[in-house]
Amino acid sequence: MSTHSNHPFHLVDYSPWPLTGAIGAMTTVSGMVKWFHQYDISLFVLGNIITILTVYQWWRDVSREGTYQGLHTYAVTIGLRWGMILFILSEVLFFVSFFWAFFHSSLSPAIELGASWPPMGIISFNPFQIPLLNTAILLASGVTVTWAHHSLMENNHSQTTQGLFFTVLLGIYFTILQAYEYIEAPFTIADSIYGSTFFMATGFHGIHVLIGTTFLLVCLLRHLNNHFSKNHHFGFEAAAWYWHFVDVVWLFLYITIYWWGG
């Protein structure tokens, strides 16, 4: 491999990770079949381990190519940006389906639900307690991640560290509070369409918060290892975009499901 070429694009090396990733995903879903039929989770766990090992090494290699080998030229970063934009767009459409299901049921509740929303027997959360606190937390984390971004662009290493640290901290705090809400919930996912749509929407949002927090934590570690410069830090920008997306989804969730639909 040579880092000197007559074009700005990155022709990726041969890599085993797409293959092991595919095997890991197949093992995971086959493991689910085994789990359901034979009550044995060993294959499912193995699939997850293979997948985790693969994604760690795959992204490690991408970081190496970008930071150590200098293969992420301006043209390459443009492609990465479009890739991230399209990924976030697919996530938006993913959540549209949950909101669609929620509005489908809530705007015209069926007679089986008592023709009312929330359905009969459902005690919904008070939107002005922990949900409002969680809203403040995520909005604050949006500020801190922006603070980190601007600090990075100003070549301020310590401020970037602080901004990223507080963002990760707020993300963890949000997750803890949401877990507490789930523990104290007066209804379950099986309690009518309300429970289903509530836990599907907020549950997947919670998973995305975990993913975003992990993403930002990795960026913090990379920053502490001096991977980012003021001009070359798209990995961080991708994490920031993703975090802002998670934040906006929560705002929609809070307004429609907790506040209006509660």
């Binding site: 491999m1 040579s2 880092t3 090396d13 041969y14 890599s15 085993p16 990770w17 293959l19 092991t20 095997i23 890991g24 197949m26 093992t27 086959s30 493991g31 079949v33 085994k34 039929h37 034979q38 060993s42 294959l43 193995l46 699939g47 381990i49 293979i50 090992l53 693969t54 090494q57 290699d61 190496r64 190519e65 930071t67 150590y68 080998q69 200098g70 301006y74 970063t77 443009i78 940006r81 662009m153 100003e154 070549n155 290493h157 290892n225 001096n226 991977h227 410069s229 003021k230 001009n231 070359h232 830090h233 798209f234 920008e237």
Partner: protein, 89 residues
């Protein structure tokens, strides 16, 4: 429409590059200068692919991952056999 697309691309493509003025060395985090050693290591022309270029740990991780993948394939094969050929009761 093409001009609008280009304008959109231009606006988000230049986020990081907008502030590209030179920075005095004393304002740069010291660790950045140590990155050069790592960069030299990963840019050696030793024929190793990027996923094995780091250290011995890379090799171990790679082999473990492949080994587990093979075990996974075996496990899937066993599962499909068991499900397709049920035991006689």
């Amino acid at each position: 429409m093409m001009n609008l697309s280009r304008a959109v691309v231009r606006s988000f493509a230049t986020t990081a590059g907008r502030r590209s003025a030179a920075v005095p060395k004393d304002q740069i985090e010291k660790g950045y200068f140590e990155i050069r050693k790592v960069q030299e290591h990963f840019q050696k022309k030793d024929g190793k692919p990027v996923f094995l270029k780091g250290s011995v740990v890379d090799n171990v991780l790679y082999r473990v991952t492949v080994a587990l993948a093979l075990v996974g394939i075996g496990g899937m094969g066993k599962l499909f056999y068991e499900l397709s050929v049920p035991k006689k009761e």
